[in-house]
Amino acid sequence: MLHFNRFVLNNGLRVLVHEDPSTPMAVINVMYDVGARDENPEQTGFAHLFEHLMFGGSVNIPDYDEPLQRAGGDNNAYTTNDLTNYYCSIPAQNIETAFWLESDRMLGLAFSKKSLEVQRKVVCEEFKEHYINKPYGDVWSKMRQLAYTTHPYKWMTIGKELSHIEKAQIQDVKNFFFKHYTPINAILVVAGNVTTPQVQQLAEKWFGPIPMGEKYVRNLPTEPEQKSPRLLEVKANVPVDAFVKTWHVASRLEKGYYITDLITEILGGGGSSRLYQSLVKEQQLFSNIDCYHFGSVDNGLIAIDGKLVKGVRMADADAAVQKEIEKIQQTLISNTELQKVKNKTESSIAFEDMSVMNRANSLAFYELLGDADLMNTELDKYHTITAEDIQAYAQQIFNPNNGNTLHYYSNNE
């Protein structure tokens, strides 16, 4: 049971405090309710580029990192398709420095042209490093475009193409900031060696005076139900063929999410998982294979992703995956297997919660979903899932009409 206190400032900023006196550190986590899904389709990658610009100086403070480092703190940030999160960890005595820095960049950015110019280049290098200059680096860009016709999950957080990033203008940066980076659209979590009254006083002092801003009302196009299977075949300069297949699944708060999570464990969660045992070890069709999902807030994807053993035909690999899918649809999983995946889930939650940083991050995320207290009921939700639930849901999602297949061939024949 994770304890926390919650209050809301007059400007709408939600503040959560998790006290843990066993650590000498404090964590300040600011989550903004904006991600790549909120981007204009002609300006993809912007939320992430913007995250970089948050380090380019704010209205009263020319440099974000320097004073934080001088106070013994460290920080980072990440952007996903759903949200943008900034976190720093600092010796608890110096926590006010983090309040000062974080509140100033919520108040206003410096909007420096130089920073935009440099960070455009940095992000282009990040794009190249992870998605262009790597074998199979474009798999997810292609798969997202295949699986989503309408919903903005169809592009990756980094952006659809380099040119979108290269074209970003300072006016776009300003508009984005004033639309999304306001107290009403943010969640502040303070965790570690702090007390609630102390955080209350500091939050009022530093964040209280920031104008509320307008609540961003998300109105995204929903992905229509997929009516027929989709297949994309690609040839690229890679050494071995790869197979990737996805199916649409439930959104984050639906029961289907928890079932999906358990299904990924049954199929691909380790050395005793079904796909590994059957396709890598017994049939030796794949050199590696995995099953996972993205934990997306809106309706997500479950994926099976593997590389073929050289000489294996794509059609055979595909058929063998399909056979495993049919197995989980047709035969109820045993109690032992169900217990196994639940035990794994219990254990990963316990290990995840060891770090104050993770706890702060999770609190912010569940608050973003609607209620931080959801964090404390997660495990129970997994426990209520039955073998029948899994079978029924597998029958629903692994419908061939709901599937998107990518055959990614090596051209080094």
């Binding site: 990192d65 460290d74 010796p91 280049k121 290098e125 490093e129 005793s272 050199s287 316990a350």
Partner: protein
């Protein structure tokens, strides 16, 4: 309230940092168990460290293969049964092979540990390395290697170590697909018998430890034929490459180059090591470093650039590592040399040094937070033959090393002629 003025801070250099001492236990057969009992979650981490790294192998990749296949079958359990046993209890059993050592790490909820220890003991005494498992491993590892060989950073990491240490040295050698073909079941079984069954093991445990954990460990491991004799690390000759500058095209269509600049550097026992850690932080050791400020934050040549001392036991190397746009690789290298020159020619300002000291202390404080972090630091010290004095001396160095000393060190070590230089596109 004036938002232009920073709140007062407590200088992290004034912190009185303590490294929580371990408790040391000895099992009946002499295995030493270092334990850190801390934390609030009911979890335990146990790491068995064997002297079974790649410096002991006579044939390439035998040590890593033995380590990898430890989970792939004993005389009474298949690979599947072993995996299922650990996963049934939500536990993770990982194995890693390094240059000197190879380790097996267990992460488990406390309530399940007693189901798992006997199977770990079975694995380290009775693994059989079935032919079938070895064949699958070879096939899949070769494919994996082929994929990695397409990556410029992977190639660069192999080559820079070869330049520094020579291809015969454990730190400089790497694997080809032919090496996988050459290993046999007998090679693996022999290595296992010598370096695991009759090998030398040290155990590190951390978490909110059960009161009878040591008893449990003694029950499963205290009677095994381990630690009967000391195993000495073989001495390998460092044979660096004569030619220092290398440019390699691995992918004609590549859009980035992996850049590595490196020079040999002594290990942690050298008196300059801790001081150079401070100098390295100024140079390229964190986000506010000079390399990052200049090459990423001013020029935008790269997503990230880092300098560090390699984490090796016998001898280290001072490394600068980045992936930069193909057309700015040479410009990046020039800027790295310019930053070396500045450190040689100008003393670091008090202000910058103050910042770096505080940052290092703050990050040390953060890195000692939690039982797993504390035991990781102790493990590193123990495997490097160091004690807690090293920790307290390092703290003292961070707090007191002066700009003049750092400038002298820059003149001693940051000489471009001493650096190997590599770009892989």
């Amino acid at each position: 309230m004036n938002r232009k003025i920073s709140p007062n801070i407590v200088d992290a250099v004034d912190f009185d940092l303590q490294l929580k001492p371990y408790t040391l236990h000895t099992l009946d057969n002499g295995i030493q168990v270092y334990a850190i009992d801390a934390g609030a979650q009911e979890v335990t981490m146990i790491e068995w460290v064997f002297k079974a790294g790649n410096c002991f192998e006579n044939k390439n990749i035998v040590a890593a293969t033995t380590s990898f296949l430890l989970k792939n079958g004993t005389s009474s359990k298949t690979a599947f049964a072993i995996n299922e046993h650990f996963e049934m209890y939500g536990a993770h059993l990982n194995r890693h092979c390094y240059n000197e050592t190879a380790s097996i790490t267990l992460h488990s909820l406390n309530k399940h540990v007693h189901h798992l220890l006997p199977v770990v003991a079975e694995i380290v005494t009775d693994s059989v390395f079935p032919e079938e498992e070895l064949a699958i491993y070879k096939q899949n590892q070769k494919q994996r290697l082929e994929v990695n060989l397409k990556k410029c950073d992977f190639i660069a990491n192999r080559l820079i170590d070869e330049y520094l240490f020579g291809k015969q040295h454990p730190y400089g050698k790497y694997t080809s697909t032919l090496d996988y073909d050459a290993i046999t079941q007998a090679d693996i079984q022999q290595f296992f018998k010598t370096y695991y069954v009759n090998g030398f093991c040290t155990v590190f445990v951390a978490g909110k430890l059960a009161s009878n954990l040591i008893e449990q460990l003694n029950h499963s491991f205290g009677q095994l034929p381990l630690n009967k004799q000391a195993i000495a690390f073989p001495q390998s000759l460092v044979l660096p490459t004569a030619e220092k500058k290398h440019r390699i095209i691995n992918d004609a269509n590549g859009v980035q180059g992996a850049i590595r600049l490196a020079r040999p550097f002594p290990n942690r026992h050298h008196p300059d090591f801790a001081k150079v850690q401070v100098l390295n932080n100024v140079f390229g050791g964190f986000f506010g470093s000079r390399l990052m400020s200049n090459i990423r934050e001013d020029k935008g040549y790269t997503y990230g650039i880092h300098a560090y001392l390699q984490n090796l036991i016998q001898a280290s190397a001072w490394m600068v590592s980045t992936e930069a746009g193909r057309d700015v690789c040479e410009a990046t290298i020039s800027e790295v040399y310019i930053e070396m020159e500045r450190l040689r020619n100008e003393p670091i300002s008090n202000d910058e040094l103050h910042l770096v000291r505080n940052f290092m202390m703050g990050s040390l404080l953060g890195h000692l937070d939690g039982p797993f972090q504390i035991i990781a630091r102790w493990k590193s010290y123990i495997l490097n033959g160091l004690d807690e004095q090293y920790f307290y001396n390092s703290l003292q160095t961070i707090k007191t090393v002066d700009a003049q000393t750092l400038q002298e060190l820059a003149n001693r070590y940051l000489q471009p002629d001493d650096f190997y230089e590599l770009v892989v596109v």
